[in-house]
Symmetry: C2
Subunit: 364 residues, 2 copies
């Protein structure tokens, strides 16, 4: 859930955005992106936490064709939803809008579309859907966002809940052969694993990269690598994080790991070692990358340009690093030797939907 | 040869410093260090190119105890001289002053010494020796610098020549068993190899890190890795760059490679791969690191703090990255299997002189 200033929407820390998000959203503080690294980093709660459910108890029933998922392929939080949607075969039921990886002072924008306008919602900025939901909303504009197409109103930007609901509430619209990404008997274990990974890894890389003090950076960076070492040990003899199939926990770890060497290692100073130097995590990441529904959603070009060009507070030149060599993502991983059934009793998803392919510039 | 603003003194590009060095040296531009990444990077000629020779033709004869070598252990150019002095056993003949790795607006300073004053020269800033040589000198203050102790005047800051003269003009004062670092029959080949390495590697990392445009960065970064790949091929089946012994060319390559993963990979965006990912160059670097006279001169703490804290124009937070893990520098390299005679007909240098040991914080 990347917002225009701090990517701060989240669930670990109560409170509001802390780096001028509101002002930036209103266009009052044009140096919003420069705030990175200058103000303490806190990820705040998602403001719009309505849920789209099978029974429609929040007023938003699951319905094919009614909602639009708005993402940035740069954003690890939004990318979870892109992967879940692919694995579950929800492409026809829930349409996809991909924003420009570079926000401006009005935040996420549809400048990749003809006339710089989302063809379904008819808006130029995601903030217009936020405004339609709540006039004068003072918080940040974040992805992933689910928008109600008929009314143009934002339904939810609750990135921690969106994918769980896709996995459980949207079952009636899943493809035949869709995996169970959040199986009932394993939920306690999945939740526990995801909790530590969220704090130290998913959010930890941001706490490292946007730290404003040496002590704050070191605390975050050390906790990150301690957790990665623990996860690496866990994955040494098992193919997936929980059970013997892909679950929500793997999706959440993957979206951070796939960005690790590309942006977190250098740009966020998470540099004790590269992912490619840990044989277990590197093979695990390649295994998922090469699994239909994972790597085919990743746009490395969007990832790199977003991080290096938007965070001018920590990269004033805006220069995008050339490395690392991405071709290694396609090398054999040999993780199938550990067994496991990637999709459980289900099947892999089919090809990427027409029009949703990642451009060549973003692929290894 | 690191100066207070741009580390620009050098030999490849004629002209003056380009990022406010003069003003910063005079205290007029207090944001000098912030200029990194904001102005085009050009390494300019060393201004003081007198030579200390056996015959004293420039007025500076080789003489035991007369001169003082001023260095920063952070600086790759100065570190060449520290290594040469060790290998040649010139410790007693040429004394050593080590500056604080963090310059202030008056540049290199002796804040590591009692009363913040060099105990031999009696000065607080290296710039005082420059002033003693030329009143109102408008250029940058750079290391390595050789100062005439009796007069307190700078003799030379010509980093390209200083080590060649230590190897050839100072022979009468070399230790017994000193290697020939610049052997007559190999000079053409050494010069040619060093020339490409200087342009694309030694200076290339700076051109990459201080680039102000995407195109300028990419040109420098691509040339750097092309040259590294060529050098890696050259070293695959031979232990040293030229001949079968250590020469000046190895010293010059080493001082860049030893900094590569620590600062150039992330801070300077030289991130196509880490040194540790190239088996040949990584083993070559460890071989030299573990050779007496090389690794025992390296202070990783000085290196990291200098680059990350001084270049606020490209690292505004001044936060020093924790990684990478340095313990691997001490692992076996197996390069002795390639043969070679590290010191030719000579012998390795003895232990580091008392008082010149690198503190524990700077060692792997």
């Amino acid at each position: 859930m990347s917002n225009p200033v701090t990517e701060q929407t989240g669930t670990d820390t109560a409170g509001t955005d802390t780096a001028g998000t509101a002002a930036a959203a209103a266009g009052a503080e044009k140096t919003g992106n420069e705030a990175y690294g200058k103000k303490p980093f806190k990820r705040s709660k998602s403001h719009f936490a309505d849920r789209i459910t099978a029974d429609g108890r929040d007023g938003w029933p699951v319905e094919a064709g009614r909602y639009r998922l708005v993402v940035s392929r740069a954003c690890p939080w939004a990318s979870r939803a892109v992967i879940s949607r692919r694995l579950l075969g929800l492409e026809d039921a829930l349409s996809l809008a991909v924003t420009d990886p570079i926000q401006d002072d009005r935040s996420w924008r549809f400048t990749l579309d003809p006339d710089d306008r989302d063809p379904v919602l008819g808006i130029r900025f995601l903030s217009e859907a936020y405004d339609a939901r709540e006039t004068g909303y003072p918080g940040g504009v974040s992805v992933p966002a689910v928008v109600d197409v008929p009314s143009g109103r934002l339904v939810t930007n609750d990135f921690q809940q969106i994918t769980l609901d896709l996995a459980t509430e949207w079952r009636a619209l899943h493809r035949s052969g869709a995996p169970d990404l959040y199986p009932e008997p394993l939920r306690d274990e999945i939740d526990e694993v995801m909790d530590g990974i969220y704090r130290d890894v998913n959010n930890g890389v941001y706490r490292s990269g946007f730290a404003t003090t040496q002590a704050g950076y070191e605390e975050a960076c050390l906790a990150l690598f301690r957790r990665l070492e623990e996860v690496s040990q866990r994955l040494a003899n098992r193919r997936y994080l929980v059970g013997d199939t892909i679950t929500e926990a793997d999706i959440r770890l993957f979206t951070t790991l796939v960005r690790f060497d590309v942006v977190y290692h250098g740009h966020f100073k998470c540099n004790r070692w590269k992912l490619a130097e840990d044989p277990v995590l590197w093979a695990y990441s390649r295994d998922l990358f090469q699994t239909p529904g994972f790597g085919d959603t990743v746009d490395f070009d969007h990832v790199k340009r977003h991080y290096y060009q938007v965070h001018t507070g920590i990269n004033p030149t805006g220069i995008v690093a050339l490395g690392p060599d991405l071709s290694a993502w396609l090398t054999p991983h040999h993780r199938e030797q550990l067994g496991g059934r990637p999709f459980g009793d289900g099947t892999p998803p089919g090809p990427v939907a027409a029009g949703e392919e990642v451009p060549a510039a973003g692929r290894p």
